[in-house]
Amino acid sequence: MRIFHYWFALWGIVSRELLRFVKQKERFLSALVRPVIWLFVFAAGFRAALGIAIIPPYETYILYEVYITPGLIGMIQLFNGMQSSLSMVYDREMGSMRILLVSPLPRWYLLLSKLFAGVFVSILQVYVFLGIAWFYEIQAPLEGYLWLLPALMLSGLMLGALGLLLSSFIKQLENFAGVMNFVIFPMFFMSTALYPLWKLQESSEWLYKLAEYNPFSQAVEFLRFALYGQFNQQAFIYTAVAFALFLILAIIGYNPSKGMMKRKGR
């Protein structure tokens, strides 16, 4: 039965990713330490420097730590997406990617399954982080944690698809440092993860525009609203469209007759 084949393959790819994640404890730890340091150190330090007005979805004045928590959730997923991308470049260089690509399933499905696996891992990281934040008294309404789940799926898929797209263009592991400098940092800093849009607009109009159209900003806003039990339609549409676009481009990139493979040979 064809449908079972698809299911077994998805399950196989997700469980492999989980096994690898469990075995690489330092990866889990570093994925967690990064946002925790931002929360405990950076946010605490900037609490006094940055005043936050009452902006949706918040109904009262909030602490800066509360504001950046959704941004840090996005950060976890952004780094996870890039980490998956890095591991795909590594797998391709080391050869284990070939085993995936020669499986008798459509390539788009294999890549999508790989994406799901990465998102699944990132969601685990996010909830552990939120657990730590809870004890730091950063607490969202309980139902918000439930609403956050589908939002995490979409934002994770979008950021994972971006990583996948990048991995289809990066030929060697060494080039990955460029991704850090030219993708992760600009995406993170030019977004609403650390400061709201109006604050950016106060200092620079073009920075404000860049942040507004940055898909990472939209993903963060989608997560922010979901965490407070609200649906941000604009952010949802923007994130979903960005996901579809990145995924299509990544699939083309991995198509043997069109993308990366075509450039390798004819």
């Binding site: 084949h5 077994f8 469980s15 492999r16 075995k23 080391m94 284990s96 499986s103 075509k262 004819r266």
Partner: protein, 245 residues
């Protein structure tokens, strides 16, 4: 209806940019046949394997696996294939069993059947007792055995081996050569084995010698020796590949 060959390649050409690496290459591997793809480094063996496995797409020529065209019916064609790549493709941090289960899942094998398949294939290669070991702890020869077991788990009709014995010591090499030939003798499996090592060839094998991307000679070992007017297969290989460009 006539039975299709396990692997049929017709007039295949391929280039990396302007550099043409395969020129109108044709070859056929029948069911129950071990075909040795002999050629010096850079002859185009690995490129050919990348085309058969659809890692690269070709524009000229045709590749069929058990009658399924690799470009028109890629999923049916790939389902016929078991592959051992030149570079190890095992996940070093996972156990032997976990690696094989992952492959079984990709091939659509249920976990119950996968466990039976793992036992069957690993027992044949004397590796079943080591199934719970992390691959990183295994030596090169044992890793290769695991890769062969993995390639056979879904009962493919064609087994591709791209220089699988490179870097192995003599006993490990011999064990792999013997095992693969035994597999061919036992059943209907067709094998395409790329190598440049003459001692991996059995007298019963079909040999296809490629050089600079095209077939220079093909046939049984004695045919190749006769075609090259040589004394032995080593000599024939040397005559057919040296001093020509």
């Amino acid at each position: 209806m006539a039975k299709h060959p396990a692997l049929a390649i017709t007039d295949l050409s391929f280039s990396y940019g302007k550099k043409q690496v395969l020129h109108d290459l044709s070859l056929i591997v029948e069911e129950g046949q071990c075909c040795i793809l002999l050629g010096p480094n850079g002859a185009g063996k690995s490129t050919l394997f990348s085309l058969i496995t659809r890692l690269y797409a070709h524009k000229q020529g045709d590749i069929q696996l058990a009658g399924f065209n690799i470009q028109k019916r890629p999923l049916k064609a790939l389902a016929q294939l078991g592959v051992v790549f030149q570079q190890t493709t095992l996940d070093l941090d996972l156990t032997v069993q976990q690696n094989l289960r992952y492959h079984a899942a990709l091939q659509g094998i249920s976990s119950k059947k996968a466990n039976l398949g793992i036992q069957e294939q690993l027992e044949r290669l004397g590796m079943y007792e080591r199934r719970k070991e992390v691959v990183r702890q295994l030596n090169g020869g044992h890793r290769r055995r695991v890769e062969i077991a993995r390639a056979l788990m879904h009962k493919p009709s064609v087994l591709l081996l791209d220089e699988p014995t490179v870097g192995l010591d003599a006993p490990s090499r011999q064990a792999i050569v013997d095992h693969v030939h035994q597999l061919v003798e036992d059943g209907s499996l067709a094998v395409l084995w790329a190598t440049h090592l003459m001692d991996e060839i059995y007298a019963s094998d079909k040999v296809v010698l490629i050089h600079h991307g095209s077939v220079k000679a093909e046939g049984g070992v004695t045919d190749i020796i006769q075609q090259a007017q040589a004394d032995n297969i080593n000599d024939a290989f040397f005559k057919l590949t040296q001093g020509k460009s």
